[in-house]
Amino acid sequence: MGQTVILGVIGSDAHVVGITILEQALSAAGFDVKNLGVQTSKDEFVSAAQKHDTGAVLVSSLYGHARQDCQGLHKQLADTECDAVTYIGGNLSVGQDDWDDTREHFRELGFNRVFDAETDPSAVVSALERDLDHRTAEPETQRVRMNS
């Protein structure tokens, strides 16, 4: 454990509750969390990832503009030779888009895991524990609902 994890809400989104709780959950699980807070730009994610030699970059987005906001993020991370696993979670599309399409889209952007807004923080913690301990395991994406 003890690996650094970067956490932030991308774009001009100011939804803070989710990452506040996720920060607590990750800290409690022993991760070294750098919470970049809300309204974090792509550049800020990338430079934080570089600076902390991070094991994972966790992107949160709840205001429906994640597609635009994440465009090019993985290219920039690759350019800095960052090999962190990347997760994204939240309300990832506007309106009533099909979740499978949404997940597929973000996988194609390069995210290793894609979570919806109902995800329990413990599911993220478990996934991270898995991915950071067993990097050879094939990355997966899945939908985890907390209460259904």
Partner: protein, 500 residues
Amino acid sequence: MLRDERIPDEELIEVESALRERWPTGADAEFESAIAYHESLPTTKRFADALESADQPLLQPRAGVPCLDDQTELLRYLDKEGGADLLPTTIDSYTRDNEYEKAQRGLEEARESGEDTLNGFPAVNHGVEACRELVEAVDAPIEVRHGTPDARLLAIITLAGGFQSFEGGPISYNIPYTKEHDLKETIEHWQFIDRLCGAYTKRGVRINREPFGPLTGTLVPPSIAIAVMVVEGLLAATQGVRSLTLGYGQVGNVVQDVAALRALRELGEEYLPNDVVVTTVFHEWMGGFPPDEARANGVIGLGGATAALAQPDKVITKSPQEFQGVPTQEANAAGLRTTRQLIDMMAEQEIIIDGIDKEQELIERTARSLLDAVFDHGDGDVARGVVAAFNSGALDVPFAPSDSAKADVLPARDDDGRVRILQWGDLAVDQEIRDIHDARLDERARTEGRSRSFRMVADDVDAISDGKLIGRPTASESDSEESGRATDGTDTIGGEGDAD
């Protein structure tokens, strides 16, 4: 240097002139003609008078669409079909970010396409005349509702446009709304707005001001909300505001909500100068709503019942479509009518609940402690004090995205569903009060057979949308419910079983 002092006339005039040049519509916002315009309005449009003289809670929805005719129609609908007593005009996000050019493009697109390309009414772009048309087109008084850290030009234009109530405040529209706006600067901006309202007030046009009480809208401990309301009230009063509506967002525990609204009124009246008329506004639940209109109606029902018991001067209603974002006008009106039915059925009943006094005392004591810290941090100057107190964490707001607040405080519900403080950070609250909160949270922890932790916070944040008040460990964790659940969970990896 920031001080809680009235802005001199010449500075007001100078800043106002400069601001009016920021966007072409500023030119029409001429103060003397605005006074004359307000004086020409019928007494029924006097927001402060309507609110202060009501003998039952007045109901007000939220509503804003980009175009003038649509906004007019929407407000008329909410008046006629919803029975709203007070009307809103909610401003769009671009205007909140002072991006008037983007708002202009959005407005033009909206006019061309007929679609709502903005999430509110861009009043700056519409300008003074359009605002006046709106004010004249509806019967009830209208308030500007927004979320703008620097709302100076918006205030200049909407007040000249005939609005007589303006929501927001330097803390309540900074700490919960933005990351990087400097609190000191935001206070200076709101001192200008309050000073402008004071100038209208001095000329006999009493502009109502309404700090935004719910703050981050998520399990905000009442004492924190009340301390912020009093600070914003004091700052506004210094600038000449004489009609102040202090706000509070429902937490869902009836005793705590009634106690909090009483404490809000009590401390508001105590701390604010005698020449300020203090009223209160109760916001129906601002947290996550159930993704189901029937259950959402239950949440609204509890809001209406609480309002009937607490008798605030005003209630901001929610709609059964809250979960999915902006409601249709029909759903918005339905939320008003459901709330009205509950208030009207309960209004004449004498329902005296035990323990409200005790909870109120705890809230007041905590709020006083926070207010003392603000005064101490500013050596008696509340403006400087509040900046310093947020900086030190002596005053703090849970889940605040702003860099100006520490956001180290974490709330959780106790075993009775009242919001307590789980993590204190550097909040200026003495050990005796902390012990009370800790004891109540320990009680819950015992009930749930788990330790006090952030998991309670996470569970509580989602509880109401999941149909409960308190985020108890779920059945799948405690294995006490019928099958079905387990099956549903098999295709999740890293589920709760793994994590524990």
